[in-house]
Amino acid sequence: MANIKSNENKTKAQSMGLHSEVLTGKTQQKFFNPDEAENFYYWGTYDVDFNKRIDLDVNDLDCKEANKKIDELMSQGYGTIVIKNPQGKHSLGVGVLNKLNLIFEGSLGYFGVGSIDGPTVRINGRVGWSCAENMMAGKVVIEKNAGSCFGAAVRGGDLICKGSVGARTGIDQKGGTIIVGGDAGAFTGFMMQRGRIIILGNVGINLGDSMYDGTIYVGGKIGSFGSDAIESPMTKSDIDWIKRKLKVAEIGENFDVSKMTKVVAGKKLWNYDALEPTEKKGAI
């Protein structure tokens, strides 16, 4: 567990009553010290072969049994797993922490493919609330619509919905990219902290409400701006980046990216720019 130590060098902020902290715990060192991380064992990960493919029918399995089965198949080296008959079940495909081609032939319920770190997921149907919550890395493509809280607290990777999504898309987003081919509901980018959202269609009311940082691009109409969200001019870098991302997402081939509206946070938090300098944002 990380220890929290006070920074002994007092700053102007501290003299104003604010304090700073640094994390120096063992876990932090393991994650951030490349030497120590070299032999770090990451529990629940497997070396898989993409050419080793298997179908898994989950019609008669509950979500726990189905996820255990996926884990078991990965441990046997299967790198392409096709899930048949998901039937809107909740929490399928969560916690996959290695590379994997995971294909769902059908629709998922709530909390599908949450907390994943690395797999490439394709869902031929629709997904319910909180799809890919806490996703850390990888790529998720949904062919149809998605429910609310799409990509809640996403930290990295590409999350793509070719249809429309519900309310609060990208709530608490901390990184990565969310791309929506259709419309999005109210409170898109609510309390967003980092990362980027691209919506090709219309968005509902209170766009970017209480956002701390990050960027939202909207192709259609905006219901209304939330507090702290403001419009910012589109730059060539924005246009080039969106075009590249849409190619990755395989949508919006003929979409006029230059006419999109760029929305950013209108407030400055005292330590946010220090934590994430502008030049780093380009690498997200």
């Binding site: 039937q87 809107g88 079940k89 909740h90 059908g106 629709s107 998922l108 319920g109 709530y110 031929n124 149907g125 629709r126 319910g128 609330w129 149809k144 619509n145 998605a146 429910g147 609310s148 249809g163 429309s164 999504v165 519900g166 309310a167 609060r168 419309d183 509901g185 109210a186 409170f187 509902g204 009311i205």
Partner: protein, 313 residues
């Protein structure tokens, strides 16, 4: 949390009792305390069906006070006597449980006065009055309630239902959904969410002569819509008005003899998944409810914030 489900067959009737049971059973994890059905059945449409209770189910985790069943029979006799005084002609009566009855009857006068008088009898509550509406609610899951009231054979055009997790009031039938849109025949409501201006609205509506039977916040929706319609609004107008008149988070369904509607609050805080085709509209708090009757791949979507939709049969 609570789970709600609804379906409407357009231009035909089907076994809505079994279909709604499958949908509500799939949502049992959202609400295990009680289950309610509002089935719009293939009745002949000539007579009123009145479903009422003379007491509570005191088993299955009920929060009601235990009563001797003999008081139920006395209350039933008082109801019969009151019906006679009101000029209602009972054509058929069925005792479904020790505390609940289904009467088929003829009555041509004002339903509001009728209901007030029947419900002036201690612990008697009319669950529904309608020419096609069969409103059944009791403690237990969807399968238990279906078996207890023999709903598996009910056919009809549309239905809404509710699996309740009691949060705002007790575990009892009076707080269970659906709520009848008193005093309108064939109007029922189910709700998922919490209403935060319940008491303000209740005081206003009670002053206008509307009746509340429970302290469940969801009952407000039925009474609110009924009051709007009483003053000439259409169902859809009343539902649109409710988006600003009701404060809180909600997704609700309302059904009438020939229509079914849904409304979602402006925060879109409560879930709803919809499937629409020319033959069938199905909706539920979760996709698994729809999948329970439509296992093949279909296109579904979430309605947006502040959306109101009404379908005709």
């Amino acid at each position: 949390m609570c789970g709600i489900a609804g379906l409407i067959h357009r231009g035909k009737s089907s076994n809505v009792g079994n279909e709604l049971q499958a949908m509500l059973q799939a949502l049992k994890h959202r609400g295990p305390d009680s289950t309610g059905y509002a089935l719009y059945a293939d009745n002949d449409g000539q007579n009123f069906i009145m479903r009422f209770k003379v007491g509570e189910n005191v088993g299955e985790g009920s929060s009601s006070v235990n009563e001797d069943e003999s008081v139920y029979d006395k209350r039933k006799e008082l109801v019969d006597s009151m019906l006679k005084n009101l000029g209602a002609k009972v054509l058929k009566e069925e005792k479904l449980t020790p505390y609940s009855y289904r009467y088929e009857m003829k009555y041509d006068d004002d339903l509001m006065e009728f209901s007030k008088k029947i419900e002036s009898i201690e612990s008697v509550e009319i669950l529904s009055i309608g020419k096609s509406l069969e409103l059944i609610k009791d403690l237990g899951d969807a399968q238990a309630v279906l078996n207890r009231y023999d709903l598996g054979k009910v056919t009809g055009t549309h239905a809404i239902g509710h699996a309740r997790m009691a949060t705002e009031s007790g575990v009892d039938i009076k707080s269970a959904h659906p709520f009848w849109g008193y005093p309108f025949s064939d109007v029922s409501v189910v709700h998922n969410g919490q209403l935060t201006n319940y008491w303000n609205n209740r005081r206003v509506l009670e002053n206008k002569g509307m009746r509340f039977m429970s302290e469940c916040d969801s009952e407000l929706i039925a009474v609110y819509l009924a009051e709007k319609m009483r003053n000439g609004a259409t169902l859809e107008e009343g539902m649109k008005d409710s988006l600003s008149g009701l404060d809180g988070v909600f997704t609700y369904f309302v059904a009438t003899k020939d229509s079914l509607g849904m409304a979602k609050d402006t925060m879109a805080a409560k879930p709803l998944v919809l499937y629409e085709s020319d033959e069938l509209v199905a909706m539920g708090s979760e996709e698994i409810a729809i999948r329970s009757i439509l296992p093949h791949e279909i296109d579904t979507y979430d309605p947006f914030d502040g959306e109101v939709k009404v379908w005709q049969i």
